[in-house]
């Protein structure tokens, strides 16, 4: 069997039902194997689109996404999705073609040191030197990608090796002696955490993307409701706890709610689950949660005490640890009434500082209202992807996600152009669900070519561009912190998105009237096939509230 045919067998054995990719010289053999290989392949228009689609697929389904590219420029185009997947712990296997072994290191045509270039941004990578190793490498790649803290794994296969004949035997055992992620948390530590929680007067549960990754939502809800614990989620964790809810404080961090940020500021105990104390959460680190002790639950030991020293570290998978923590906590039988004072303090903030904006007096669409309208038009039941910027923050603030894997965005790397291809991947992975992308007019053009992929394959994503004619978040920072000296943020109204959508074979629409917006959105959603909607919103609206960069939480503005 050719090595590439073995690759197809391995993919099938791993349960892969779709690959996003683009062929080229170095992976011609691989693409030959797709013919009759039994694996669906979606031909993207740019490798970055394929990479983000694989991420969107992985985030929406919880399965490993797969993206293929050729050598050289194909592989370098994957660098952004790889890095994005690393920052947000997304399980994706990338398989790249490489020039023939005799050309390696000679600056051959379309040669790039793919392994070297991607080394700092992969969870692991495999450089194939012997075709016989290919099946094992593929299986190991899937194992590493999906287990522990998930992440991107790259397999680089030189063209000549991929054509080689090998004796293929299914690989059933994956042995990686240097890789044994700890799943079960230490029972003693968990008991200590339960005790600390029972003694806390002002506790906050702070949950991140790790809860979504480990499918621990149910366990999180049970844990939070085992007492009246206030809960906040990071941008990546939204949906892990169903919003809205009486114990829900909203998102925390730079554009989080005041209730969530003030609660963190005044807490005496913070229980972090699958979250990594990113600078967008902590603000000024030295003044972050000054009164708090920290329980830190994470499957990645390197995250614990990286930014904030943990008093009770628990290394383990959130699903397992939370399940045990609930049992330990219930056994103590803590008195919930101790939290009454804390809740009245939090309630005061919630009442005084709800998420709010000033609505327009006329038919102008406020960006915040656009998100609320989408929530209404979708009954809060859509899978929502986003790009990066103001629209992303408003979506996170105003779309109450009731379930995990419904909110798909680029948090860590902040990749503009992520939303549209990610929506494409999510829609392929979840054909029965409505998938909407909330895009920025700055971001959307960075991967808009995938609209052709959607049209060709009838992938019915609904893209709503929040169009303010600006690189909005940069404009906001220039307004607030650079004396309003706008520099290179004006996008104008180019292109005409309605015409562009039609040129791509999709449906284009433009909405400008607030009063008709919900009905208009329903019409867009009811339209078959991919739809690109240009929603014209207030041009100079700022995303508030906001912790100015490098400031502590209590300095929130807006």
């Amino acid at each position: 069997m050719r090595a590439v045919d073995a690759v197809m067998e391995c993919l099938k054995a791993e349960g892969v039902d779709v690959v996003f990719g683009l062929p080229g010289g170095a992976n011609l053999p691989t693409y030959d194997a797709f013919v009759g290989g039994g694996i669906r392949h979606i031909l993207v228009r740019h490798e970055a689109g394929g990479g983000h689609a694989a991420e969107g697929y992985a985030k929406a389904t919880g399965k490993v996404g797969v993206a293929f590219a050729t050598s050289g420029p194909g592989a370098t185009n994957l660098v952004t999705p790889i890095c994005d997947a690393m920052m947000d712990s997304v399980p994706v296997v990338f398989i790249t073609g490489q020039v023939r072994t005799e050309l390696l290191g000679t600056d051959g045509f379309q040669e790039a040191d793919t392994i070297g270039i991607t080394m700092p941004v992969v969870k692991h990578s495999f450089m194939i030197q012997n075709p016989q190793d290919i099946p094992r490498a593929i299986h190991e790649a899937f194992h590493v990608a999906r287990s522990g803290r998930p992440g991107p794994v790259l397999v680089d296969i030189p063209q000549d090796l991929s054509r080689a004949e090998i004796a293929y035997e299914p690989v059933t055992d994956v042995r990686l002696p240097g890789y044994q992620p700890r799943v079960e948390g230490n029972q003693k530590q968990i008991r200590q955490a339960a005790k600390a929680l029972a003694a806390a007067q002002r506790p906050v549960i702070y949950a991140g993307g790790g809860v979504v990754n480990s499918n621990a939502s149910e366990e999180l809800v049970e844990f939070v409701r085992s007492d009246r614990f206030p809960i906040t989620c990071t941008l990546m964790g939204l949906g892990a706890y169903p919003a809205p809810d009486r114990q829900w404080l909203g998102m925390l961090g730079m554009h989080g709610t005041r209730a969530a940020n003030y609660a963190m500021d005044e807490a005496d105990l913070i229980c972090a689950v699958g979250a990594r104390f990113d600078d967008r959460i902590t603000g000024k680190l030295s003044e972050f949660a000054p009164r708090a002790k920290f329980i830190h639950i994470d499957v990645d030991p390197a995250e614990i005490s990286k930014n904030v020293p943990a008093h009770i570290p628990i290394v383990g998978d959130a699903k397992h640890v939370l399940a045990k923590l609930v049992i330990e906590y219930r056994a103590i039988g803590a008195d919930s009434s101790r939290l009454e004072g804390w809740w009245s303090r939090i309630g005061g903030w919630q009442e005084k500082y709800p998420l709010a904006y000033e609505d327009s007096p006329d038919s102008e669409i406020k960006p915040q209202y656009m998100i609320k309208a989408l929530y209404e038009a979708t009954s809060g039941e859509a899978v929502v992807t986003s790009d990066v910027g103001q629209h992303q923050m408003w979506a996170a603030q105003y779309y109450d996600f009731p379930k995990p894997r419904r909110w798909i965005n680029s948090g860590g790397l902040g990749t503009m152009g992520f939303g549209l291809p990610a929506a494409m991947g999510a829609a392929v992975g979840c054909p029965d669900q409505l998938v909407c992308c909330i895009a920025g007019d700055g971001s959307v053009q960075m991967n808009i070519q995938e609209l052709a992929t959607c049209a060709q394959n009838d992938i019915p994503i609904k893209v709503f561009i929040m169009n303010n004619g600006y690189l909005g978040m940069v404009r906001q920072w220039q307004e607030l912190f650079w004396d309003g000296r706008y520099s290179q943020v004006e996008m104008g109204q180019f292109p005409d998105y309605v015409k562009l959508a039609e040129a791509y074979g999709a449906t284009g629409m433009r909405f400008e009237d607030k009063n008709a917006l919900v009905a208009d959105m329903r019409r867009a959603i009811a339209t078959d096939g991919p739809v690109l909607v240009d929603v014209r919103v207030t041009r100079e609206e700022n995303t508030y509230p906001m912790i100015p960069a490098g400031q502590p939480a209590r300095e929130m503005v807006g």
Binding site: M119, P120, S305, W482, P548
Partner: protein
């Protein structure tokens, strides 16, 4: 700390504060790795990304041909070292890491010194080498090559002794280290 994206300028003091995180204590990390291509690059890259300077590095086979040992010494405060060892553990090809305690460790380095030596100086140099339990490995009319094994401090002391004679060249392997007692390093 100045934040990228704001107008705040990073002050020199802040930069120094970051530098102060280093205590200067030497750490000897003994790392067992799978003998696979690119392992050393992964490890070196991990240090480089965090601005860590590797002082010495030696790589060699172990009694198992599929496993190599990397011994490296770095200067650093405990916290960043801790972070780096945790990150090292995340590398799939890394099997085991030990931050060796200096007191419980035997560490050795090999050095070769090429020193200018004609006539009378040669005898004197040979005497010094003997005191340091070094060896003469090559003699020519105008130079002598001495081999010496020992701790980093011993080699530094030897260097200071021979330098006045006219040190032409010095080569050091970097430390290898093994833990004392019955248990494996």
């Amino acid at each position: 700390m100045g934040e990228p994206g704001t107008k705040e300028v990073l002050s020199l003091q802040e930069l120094e504060a970051t530098a102060n995180l280093r205590t200067g204590r030497k750490h000897v990390l003994s790392i067992l790795v799978e003998n696979k291509p690119g392992v050393l690059t992964r490890i070196a890259g991990l240090f480089a990304r965090r601005g860590f300077n590797i002082d010495t590095l030696s790589v060699g086979p172990t009694d198992d041909e599929q496993i190599s040992r990397i011994t490296l010494t770095v200067d650093g405060a405990l916290h960043p070292i801790d972070q780096v060892t945790k990150q090292l553990h995340k590398l799939i090809n890394v099997l085991k890491i030990r931050d060796l305690e200096p007191g419980d460790t035997v560490a050795r380095e090999l050095a070769l010194f090429k020193v200018a030596a004609d006539g009378v100086q040669r005898g004197e140099l040979m005497q010094i080498a003997e005191i340091f339990r070094g060896k003469v490995v090559d003699v020519t009319k105008r130079a002598i090559i001495l081999e010496i094994t020992g701790t980093t401090e011993k080699i530094a002391a030897f260097e200071s002794m021979v330098r006045p004679f006219g040190l032409i060249e010095m080569m050091r392997t970097g430390e290898i280290a093994i833990s004392r007692g019955r248990t494996e390093t």
